[in-house]
Symmetry: C2
Subunit: 496 residues, 2 copies
């Protein structure tokens, strides 16, 4: 299981090479920060337990300089390196057999906060939620909100270009990063920790590392952009007769509310039926299950928006009520309820946030995360459902997601749990997505889970350029090997 | 002057090689679209006439396929290729001696508009303003606003990652692009024309081409994001006693108005004095010249914001008046006037938009375009002025720019116009900018103008990675050679 190559370490036995490497790692960051054997078990298990690892060791550097020494050493030994943040990924991006896991858990420093420029400069090991706690006192927030943000670290959120519910207003993790510090596999440090909103000085290298899932270098620091902390929310659940009606409501709300519209989360009928049939079925506010329910949320930091009138309604709630009233008047929306307090808001969000629990007792399932252009999503969802059912009539199928981003998470609980059948179902999802000009990974990334999709559907020209870049940044191939980039096909058809 | 290498075309004389190349170009896109000699003169002159070119020919392809054939041919002949959009750049990014200029002026197709998804798919030869004309009827706009947007083409705006006055609300050109079509130097077409807001399927290659100034490939198409067309504006001029006070007003306005705040343009005293002393001095609304005047603009597409009250004031104007009134009350702002109609709004913008005319009769001048972190800009501006004056006490010096982005355009009209002295002045600007953790090019790019700054101030690690990427994408070095990437220093100190 040990993947250390011996072409640089001479003729010693593998065991001696390992001991040598571990000893040198201990010298770099202290013996207590080099974990082996059973000590690695909590790191070796990913969030969902789908991609167990057997690392050579877990090393916990305390500084960028230590990361640099570790990578230089690993590079000399030809030892695979797997960067490890909160380990909350869903696609096997940290899986390893014999590689060195580099955990950033000790690199948790908030380096600087600039309230005027609305930036925070942080170590990559800082947890997403901790950034928010650090900047809250300035009336600011880091507006990246996703299920795992209480565990996920900034380095991982950037390496996977995390998305979530607020992408509609603020973009993916990529859009929230101004600068990076990255250690390259040979130990060199790329210091691009700039807090600049305009910076046209050559190729924008940070965008290569963001979303590269640790295959090009190890992110050790980042300069993040911040936005105002909302002081008030207006949250509603609406029902629509078609996803295209949802898009009409989206257009109207955006025109009226601009970037105050922070979430537009869709729960199609397939999801609602599963949700309401589950054991802990939450209260559902509409008499009937609509074709889709959509969770709409406005947020504002403006003092004028948060002062309630004598009925206890804020101007923000009034604005939402007016717009939704008009949507109902024109028949675009069939039902609507607005939360009037934090408890009601939480109850509406629970409908959406229960999504991960719905697969309990059903695993393994085929879980996909796709996006399509917005004008096609209304046709895509039923078409996908039909394609899946035509090959597996008994499958449980539901979708839930971020309508404003054209992003649906798909769950198919197949009757036949054989890997072959499940692979066929995944392939049907991918093929349908590609037919609708979509992406087979919207926000979860490739990892090892979607390597076959990369081989099948990514443009050969893009793959060729990606491989060229990989060879420049990581000539020895030590950085998170086997992720993102599929092996070349037999016959190397994309070779020049 | 002819830069065709002969290592691939054998032993024929250069003249014969040229004739051969021109004939083949004519066969690809029609003889009338291959211009030589005097026919090239309007293409060979850049906007400001600072970087005259002597191209082998100007070729005007009509399709991506023709661009592909042209690049493949040029690559085989080792002939430099210079992509040409509206030719409005300021840094010599299209300068060539003997290269083939590929003008995109015939590629002007709006390929598709998705009003629901708010995207437009266009040829790279479409002029920025034309995108706006095409999407206006859907109540949408492409919110990239800069001086040359009536001439600049989408391909050039993306290749240079154009900025401008609305970056504060919408980001640079990079942030407004979802997908690209690029022809690589060997003629292969990278088709990444996706209209997806979430797309995590490997390295995000489009961000390499955006801002690469045509050195990695030739952009032939793009999918752009659109935003709502404002139906009403509220525009004001404010005076402040310090740039840091301007930042306080910025923070307050953002909290109150979110992304409705679209412009926050700063005109420091140095600029105002030059402006008001010029021949066509516009009316200035304040009794005295403040330390800085700032043009503030809110925009809204919300129907409720544009209905005027009985005094003719829209709710948007009332909001701005309230916030500025409070700023005056707390002493952050010293003076303020609000435009109450389109004419008054235009008059305020004229104060800012006159900037390019102020160098009339003074050229050559040292013109720089830098950015610094926002919390340092209040100290940076006077410090820079002092540094320049200490080496050239008689120089005319002014700055003007985008305060919300930390971006200042600097003009120094030196007494001594020798290239050596002007280079020293530029160097002082660069050094001061770097001392304040800034960028020596905020939005204009590198071209050939800032090659020395790249050599002196860009991280050697970044330069090394950029050169590696260039070698992968353009192994024969035909794409816009001599731009962006400085030659290696004698002794190749960055070589491994």
């Amino acid at each position: 299981m040990i993947a250390i190559s011996d072409h640089k370490t001479g003729t010693r036995a593998p065991g001696a090479q390992q001991d040598d490497l571990l000893q040198k790692l201990g010298a770099i960051c202290g013996k207590s920060n080099v974990l082996t054997g059973r000590q690695t078990s909590s790191y070796a298990r990913d969030w969902r337990g789908q991609y167990p690892s057997h690392p050579l060791a877990v090393v916990r550097p305390g500084s960028t300089q230590e990361v640099s020494s570790i990578l230089r050493l690993a590079n000399e030994h030809g030892c695979p390196v797997v960067p490890l943040g909160g380990n909350t990924g869903l696609v096997g991006g940290t899986q390893t057999e014999g590689g060195l896991m580099v955990s950033l858990e000790r690199m948790k420093r908030i380096r600087a906060i600039d309230p005027a420029g609305r930036t925070a400069s942080v170590d990559a090991g800082v947890i997403v939620e901790e950034v928010n706690r650090a900047v809250e006192r300035f009336g600011l927030r880091f507006p990246l909100a996703f299920g795992a943000d209480g565990s996920a670290m900034i380095g991982g959120a950037l390496s996977t270009n995390a998305g979530g519910a607020n992408v509609l207003a603020f973009g993916m993790a990529r859009a929230l990063c101004l600068g990076l510090e990255v250690v390259l596999p040979d130990g060199r440090i790329l210091d691009d920790m700039v807090a600049l909103r305009k910076n046209n000085t050559g190729y924008d290298l940070k965008h290569l590392f963001i979303g590269a899932e640790g295959t090009l270098g190890l992110i050790t620091g980042a300069v993040l952009t911040l936005t105002d902390l909302p002081t008030t929310y207006a949250t509603a659940l609406i029902g629509v007769n078609a996803l295209d009606d949802g898009l009409k409501a989206l257009g109207r709300l955006r025109r009226a509310c601009g970037s105050q519209l922070e979430a537009f989360e869709v729960m199609p009928e397939s999801y609602l039926k599963r949700l309401l049939g589950s054991q802990e079925a939450p209260n559902f506010p509409f008499p009937e299950v609509p074709v889709a329910a959509i969770l709409v949320e406005l947020a504002s930091s403006s003092p004028v928006d948060c002062t309630p009138n004598d009925k206890g309604e804020t101007p923000l709630i009034e604005r939402l009520a007016t717009e939704l009233g008009d949507c109902i008047g024109t028949g675009v929306v069939t039902d609507a309820v607005i939360a009037h307090n934090a408890q009601q808001r939480a109850a509406l969000w629970r409908l959406r946030d229960t999504a991960p629990e719905l697969t309990k007792g059903l695993t393994p399932v085929v879980a996909a995360d796709v996006s399509v252009p917005l004008d096609l999503i209304g046709e895509f969802e039923p078409s996908l459902q039909q394609s899946v059912r035509s090959m597996d009539p008994d499958a449980l199928f539901w979708t839930v997601g971020h309508l404003g981003d054209g992003n649906l998470h798909i769950v198919v609980c197949t009757g036949d749990k054989s890997p072959e059948h499940m692979a066929r179902v995944r392939n049907v999802i991918d093929e349908t997505t590609m037919r609708f000009q979509g992406a087979f990974s919207a926000e979860h990334g490739v990892g090892i889970q979607k390597l076959e999709s990369m081989s099948a559907f990514k443009s050969p020209v893009a793959l060729d350029l990606m491989r060229g870049i990989k060879a420049v940044f990581d000539p020895n191939g030590i950085m998170n090997p086997g992720k993102v980039l599929p092996d070349r096909l037999p016959g190397a058809m994309h070779e020049k």
